[in-house]
């Protein structure tokens, strides 16, 4: 039997092509395999949050929570999030991926696409509600920690920050460990770290972080 403990409601390990994989139930998005019951495989190799769940990090996700997702791109990961979560706000600042994200949102009632810059939270604070349960961040851009700190205001006091840090986005030449140390140190002003893990099995030179607001 598969062990779904630690996974939020609405996320299950199911068998696709003879292999156990994470999956959620919803409209297909990126050509991922879908089984007879409408569950679609969640590819951890294409999703940092998927990798964090695969690696057994304690994300605190239970299903049905409100989510603010920064760096939604064309919606690969956020589509799975919207399948198991409650109201899901998806922020992405590049127009082209947002075109696809809109298509993903059209198939879901609880996914709200926002073409906004995550470095400027005031530009969407009139839309995104306060007291968000989970802030997911995958912006892969310089200044990832600053973005996390600036967006803390959306999180409920007992909310969670789930963040993927890409070392090369901060500094191509630096040692990833040094980059991660710098990011963690900067987060310290606003967050208490609960867990960190390298996502290298799925994403080279990425660090997964679980934290809660201070």
């Amino acid at each position: 039997m598969s062990d779904d403990s630690g996974l939020p409601d609405g996320v299950e390990r199911r068998t696709f092509g003879g292999r156990e994989r994470l999956s959620t139930r919803g409209a297909q998005v990126y050509g991922e395999p879908v089984d007879a019951d409408g569950w679609r495989a969640w590819d951890a190799g294409r999703s940092k949050l998927g990798a964090m769940l695969e690696l057994g990090m304690d994300t605190g996700l239970v299903g049905g929570e409100s989510v603010l997702y920064l760096g939604a791109a064309s919606g690969t990961t956020v589509s799975h999030v919207a399948d198991f979560a409650g109201p899901t706000y998806a922020v992405e600042f590049a127009p082209r991926p947002v075109r696809d994200l809109v298509g993903v949102a059209e198939d879901r009632d609880n996914l709200f696409p926002l073409l906004k810059d995550a470095r400027d939270p005031e530009s969407y604070a009139h839309v995104v509600e306060a007291g968000i349960d989970c802030l997911v961040m995958d912006v892969a851009t310089r200044g990832q920690a600053t973005v996390a700190v600036r967006n803390r205001q959306f999180l409920a006091d007992d909310g969670r920050l789930l963040m993927a840090v890409k070392a090369r986005s901060e500094d191509v030449t630096a040692d990833p460990d040094d980059v991660f140390d710098g990011v963690v140190a900067e987060l310290d002003s606003a967050y208490e770290l609960l867990e960190t893990a390298r996502l290298d099995r799925f994403h080279a030179d990425h660090l997964g972080i679980v934290a809660r607001p201070k």
């Binding site: 791109a73 064309s74 109201p87 600042f93 590049a94 127009p95 082209r96 991926p97 947002v98 075109r99 994200l101 809109v102 949102a105 059209e106 009632d109 609880n110 996914l111 709200f112 696409p113 926002l114 073409l115 005031e122 530009s123 604070a125 009139h126 839309v127 995104v128 509600e129 306060a130 007291g131 892969a140 851009t141 205001q153 959306f154 090369r168 986005s169 191509v172 030449t173």
Partner: protein, 280 residues
């Protein structure tokens, strides 16, 4: 008065909400679903999220359409206009300098000559005509400079990787030659390498010339600044990375610093051959 996106929006018209989603701001978030119900904008929470969904979908679609209209097509037109302005200014300059030479004894050649004439104080009817004509040419040169500034400002958002790699003007030229960022992203790198060399390619196919190794990318320092026997490799490597940059810009819009570092490494390797050669 609240900062909420639904403040002042018509509950029955998603478009009015969409405009507020796009242009509104608030210093901090609040419990918008509850406020919306209190304000009578939505009947209950479910109704609120349905309205929020319509408004954000409409806002995102409109914003994307607008931004796309605003970027690659605008860049392509701007760079063609810049070239037109430059070419026309040169043509006018030739006429101005030739004509002015019959009226004044000391006319500098070329575009300097035009600026010089335009600044003069005409004393006869003929001088008045030539000075006025020179002024048109100077206006065109200023227009060319303004177009260049426009391209330099827009290219980094429209195509961040391409603009970083090729420089804003060459990035715009490649986009214009391909007919847009999407068609450029879909071209194989061999085609990118010879974009703008169509005349030369045509001659080659007719058997009149050797195969062209580089199109407009030849103007870049990476190709032009490499010694002739290595230019083919340099152009191939450069075109390969430019294609990848165009694809990333088109499909994700994500800036990838590592891509630029890889190209710099590759170029260094190619140029190192010249140094080795010199030691032989």
């Amino acid at each position: 008065m609240t900062d909420a996106w639904f403040a002042g929006a018509d509950p029955d018209d998603p478009e009015s909400g969409a405009t507020r989603v796009r242009t509104g701001r608030a210093p901090a978030p609040a419990d918008w679903p509850a406020e919306a119900v209190d304000a009578g904008f939505a009947a209950d929470e479910t109704d609120y999220y349905a309205k929020l969904r319509s408004a954000t979908l409409a806002a995102a679609s409109e914003a994307v359409a607008e931004r796309e209209r605003a970027d690659d097509v605008q860049l392509a037109h701007a760079v063609r206009a810049m070239d037109d302005a430059e070419r026309t200014a040169n043509e006018l300059a030739e006429r101005v300098v030739e004509w002015a030479g019959t009226l004044y004894g000391d006319v500098p050649r070329g575009l300097d000559g035009v600026r010089d004439i335009a600044a003069r104080d005409p004393k006869t009817a003929a001088e008045e005509r030539v000075v006025s004509y020179a002024t048109r040419a100077v206006d065109l040169l200023d227009e060319r400079d303004d177009l260049r500034s426009f391209i330099e400002e827009r290219a980094p958002t429209a195509a961040p990787n391409l603009a970083e790699m090729a420089g804003p003007v060459l990035a715009a030229r490649l986009i214009a030659l391909a007919g847009g960022l999407e068609p450029l992203a879909k071209k194989p790198s061999g085609t990118v390498q010879v974009l703008g060399a169509e005349d030369a390619l045509f001659a080659h196919l007719k058997g009149r010339a050797t195969s062209p190794k580089h199109g407009v990318i030849f103007t870049h320092e990476y190709v032009r600044g490499t010694r002739p026997q290595d230019r083919g490799s340099a152009a191939r490597a450069f075109a390969g990375k430019l294609s990848i940059a165009a694809r990333i810009d088109h499909y994700s819009g994500d800036y990838r610093p590592e891509l630029h570092a890889e190209l710099a490494d590759r170029m260094e390797t190619i140029r190192a051959r010249a140094d080795e050669g010199a030691d032989e």
